[in-house]
Symmetry: C2
Subunit: 305 residues, 2 copies
């Protein structure tokens, strides 16, 4: 099963409707009750998939929270409340339980929200931690679907090599997301979790089937990915394009518009790594050459993950 | 690990705070944003714990939704939105996935709410379906903590033998909960999921450490439990007191107050099955005798579950 296809299928299956501004298929859903908008999302982390049996439990808790906060960040929303559902292995030690909860609580505090509910079950299988985040947005919610031809593409931080540790310790870009949502020149955004190319393809599809050119020299590569690649620039680039679990924000903004000075963006993030083009597809610009790249093929063929 | 103790520990661990009227430890949490109250809860169902590998997938989806709707019902709240997190076994057949989603969607529709978000992961372990329900209450939220000495105790439906099928097919008592929340004479309520005696003990503890007397002859026994017990009345009673997964509402109301006529309650539900007393503990009144019963001991010794 391709989870992305299945998730897209879910959106069709459950549909939208009255009071739902965005449903399944964006980073989070926006629902309206009594005139107030809540931004809500729910993501599981699973032992053997998102962490291993030997991952420190407080980092598991941290990741479970921050994956959801990163989804809210991509909408420009701020988290208020968390619900935590724990499915624990029967033999899970009490000490690790406490570490898990400590990691959850610390990440909630760092994100400015708190755990208000949840439930616990034990079973014969692996640890599953499912966090639901409920937040609010300002005047505007950022979505994946607003990129336009000619927009420049940017990310809030470096990419690649997240599995060396970043995937457990990343900081959700809540300030960046909220700031970007206030800029009319910013047209679309999402959380880079599956890999830059895959997530970019999602953004382009949601924006009406556009394409993009990526400037290989402008892709910010995380130090861990460079180290792991030794001197192999090609390998480092592949890691940045396809590794995933970066949890930085990718956004599209109007060309030749400087975002206001100040705010949480680094100078690096203000520089474009690519541009949105009319023709669907992804192209890599490298040493003056323009080569078409397939996001799935790229990942599969090169085994970057 | 005793999950109930652990859940109580969670409440202490995460604490309450500004904007949180109820946190972990009630059926659902009530949070306030911009003056509006949302009632939120999140419960997982796990293969091998809440259903088996051979349970029809649409019933798994139905149960996953309705457990959460029953939690909202116990607060007198109505569901608006659901988030669904699926952790699927790698080999889970596409046909069963569709059946699972169909069950989720049908239960959401029956409950008057809709699925607006969620996420999917696959892993090497068993199926885990975690549903988050977000709803709203009227003027008043029912809690576990308001029972008073002398209050009579009632349930919305019969008890026992839920594992014969009811645990997959129950209807959450949303209408009953909303109606009860509008009656000032109703002081406390909760969802009977762990068994009448265990959940009653929770209600009494939350109400300041009170006790209760149960009239054995007044406990409504589900037909499935009677059938399973053959002619053994003792066995049928044990099932009703301890089996759990009934997902009826248990409530305490002021004595000698008739609730208004009309509304969703059956005549049976209006008759008391017990009374709240000052001395902590549970007593069973049977054939004129008064015997102390320990909820955990009862379940463990008799193996009613």
């Amino acid at each position: 099963m391709d989870e992305r296809d299945f998730t897209a299928g879910l959106a069709r299956f459950f549909g939208g409707g009255k009071g739902v501004r965005l449903g399944i298929g964006d980073d989070a859903a926006v629902v309206h009750n009594h005139g107030e908008a809540s931004v809500v999302c729910c993501d599981p982390v699973v032992e053997g998939v998102h962490f291993t049996a030997s991952t420190a439990a407080h980092l598991v808790g941290r990741k479970a929270v921050n994956r959801n906060l990163s989804d809210l960040a991509a909408m420009g929303a701020q988290p208020d409340w968390l619900l935590v559902s724990l499915v624990l292995p029967r033999s899970y030690p009490a000490r690790r339980r406490t570490q898990l909860l400590t990691g959850i609580r610390a990440a909630a505090r760092a994100g400015g929200c708190r755990v208000v509910g949840g439930d616990v079950a034990t079973h014969a299988g692996p640890l599953v931690v499912t966090v639901t985040a409920i937040g609010h947005a300002g005047q505007r919610v950022l979505t994946r679907g607003g990129a336009r031809i000619g927009d420049t593409l940017h990310v809030t931080g470096p990419l690649g090599g997240a599995m060396a540790g970043h995937h457990l310790r990343f900081r959700p870009a809540l300030r960046e997301g909220a700031w970007l949502a206030r800029q009319p020149a910013v047209h679309a955004a999402l959380d880079v979790s599956d890999g830059l190319l895959l997530d970019l393809a999602t953004l382009l599809r949601a924006s009406g089937g556009l394409g993009a050119e990526i400037d290989a020299a402008a892709v910010p590569v995380r130090a861990a990915a460079r180290r792991r690649a030794g001197g192999d620039h090609e390998r480092a680039l592949r890691a940045a394009l396809g590794d995933g679990e970066d949890h930085v924000l990718l956004w599209a903004q109007a060309p030749r518009v400087d975002l206001p000075a100040g705010g949480p963006l680094s100078a690096r993030a203000r520089r474009a790594l690519g541009v949105v083009v009319r023709a669907p597809g992804l192209w890599l610009i490298r040493d003056g050459r323009r080569e078409r790249i397939a996001p799935l093929g790229f990942r599969h063929v090169l085994g970057a993950r």
